[in-house]
Amino acid sequence: MYDNPLTKRQTLTQEVKFSARGVNVFYGDSHAIKGVDVDIEDKTVTAFIGPSGCGKSTFLRCLNRMNDTIDVCRVEGRITLDGEDIYDPRVDPVQLRARVGMVFQKPNPFPKSIYDNVAYGPKIHGMARSRAELDEIVERALRRGAIWDEVKDRLDAPGTGLSGGQQQRLCIARAVATEPEVLLMDEPCSALDPIATAQVEELIDELRQDYSVVIVTHSMQQAARVSQKTAFFHLGNLVEFGETGQIFTNPRDPRTESYITGRIG
């Protein structure tokens, strides 16, 4: 009668963006990530869920080498972006982070104008040759961040003067301004009210047309709402990775079931 369940989250492509094999992360002596293998697809929202300290944020930070900034952190294994090893010594982490943007838990606009917040990245990466071109990039990014209509008349106002939800969408606009291929989001809605959360979730769904989005969230309902693929982390292990509908209706691993149904795992 039909080929796919109505609620089956279709991914736009099966193309693998990130591929991780045998990834281990240590903070000094503590073993934070234990042998994780996972493929993250392009044009797909992948959610990482799991209890606090399970390693989901640590693993997310491996994907744009944010862990490089922590001295005691050691990453083993192989992570490739479009087949290229991102931990290859020849890779410039700054260039990598332009391809793999990040949005954080707390909106953190620069203490600059709305315009400059978005223009900063494209400027330092030399993406615009003229002011007109830069204007265009800024407008496109703000539109993608679904905030253009709210700020177009006050681009010179400080970004910190916006509401929390607007600030977060400004940060998303800032992240997409450098035309990244992947967007990493670490609890992007945990400081937002339900309306702002819904706006960001709608935005995430739109961004999926162009990007691979990886989101870490404590809200399982949010993971269920926005993602096509869900990965459950527990004690540093990737316990289960699968289609979001399957994870939330019929998880294969009892630890996943215990966690998502709110039982003691």
Partner: protein, 236 residues
């Protein structure tokens, strides 16, 4: 699932809604049994009681639906919890239908008691009722114990009920051909037999819900069906 929820009231809600199902199941089991007893013992009072009791089953079904809707809205259940709420809704609908069939049996019994009995028929109907009653009991046990194997066994037993129905179908046909004065009673008896056969189908559907609840998947293979009366003319 041995673990308890961190939020204890969630467990209480889930237990309460399942208790409603068990209560409904018990009432429907009794209704099947008493309906066939009233026919066999020509007990008009009992038949009347079965008819009257059905409204309580209907009320319970409504209650289950309301509680399930509240659970979905307030707790957003997932995985096994979600399957529990979904199966509770379907099982209560199945039980309500079985209750209706028992009520209809009792109604027809009221009419049949005004006519001469047809030899041997009430015993055969009682055996059929007991088979379905036993299936229902096992299906409810399988539900509460999360026993997919027992549920599968129930599902396969529906075959026997279908065969009993086929045999009765032929028997009533013979009676009616022998003596047209039997037609009215045999028509009612046939409807009763058909009702019990349909009860078996609803109980089978309950068993399938148990399998879904436990495994997360509906049984795929077609179960054997023995009711051929709709497909071929009987050889009398």
């Amino acid at each position: 699932m041995p673990d308890r929820h961190i939020v204890k009231s969630y467990d209480r809600d889930l237990e309460a809604i399942q208790a409603l199902i068990m209560k409904m199941g018990g009432m429907v089991e009794t209704a099947i049994l008493e309906a066939s007893q009233s026919l066999e013992n020509r007990d008009e009072e009992l038949a009347e009681r079965v008819r009257a009791n059905d409204s309580a089953v209907d009320e319970l079904e409504e209650r289950v639906n309301e509680e399930a809707a509240r659970m979905l809205a307030l707790r957003q259940p997932s995985a096994g919890d979600l399957r529990t709420v979904l199966t509770v809704m379907k099982i209560s609908a199945n039980l309500e239908r079985v209750g209706d069939y028992a009520k209809n049996m009792a109604k027809r019994t009221g009419v049949l008691l005004q006519m001469a009995p047809i030899d041997g028929s009430s015993g055969a109907i009682r055996r059929m009722s007991m088979a379905v009653g036993g299936m229902l009991k096992d299906a409810l046990d399988a539900y509460i114990q999360r026993d997919a194997e027992l549920a599968e066994d129930v599902r396969l037993r529906d075959h026997e009920v279908d065969q009993m129905y086929n045999a009765l179908f032929r028997e009533f046909l013979t009676f009616m051909m022998e003596d047209p004065r039997n037609i009215t009673a045999c028509m009612h008896l046939h409807f009763i037999a058909k009702n019990i056969e349909r009860m078996g189908d609803h109980v089978t559907s309950i068993a399938e819900q148990v399998i879904y609840l436990v495994t997360g998947e509906m049984p795929e293979d077609d179960r054997p069906k023995a009711d051929r009366t709709a497909i071929e003319a009987p050889k009398v």
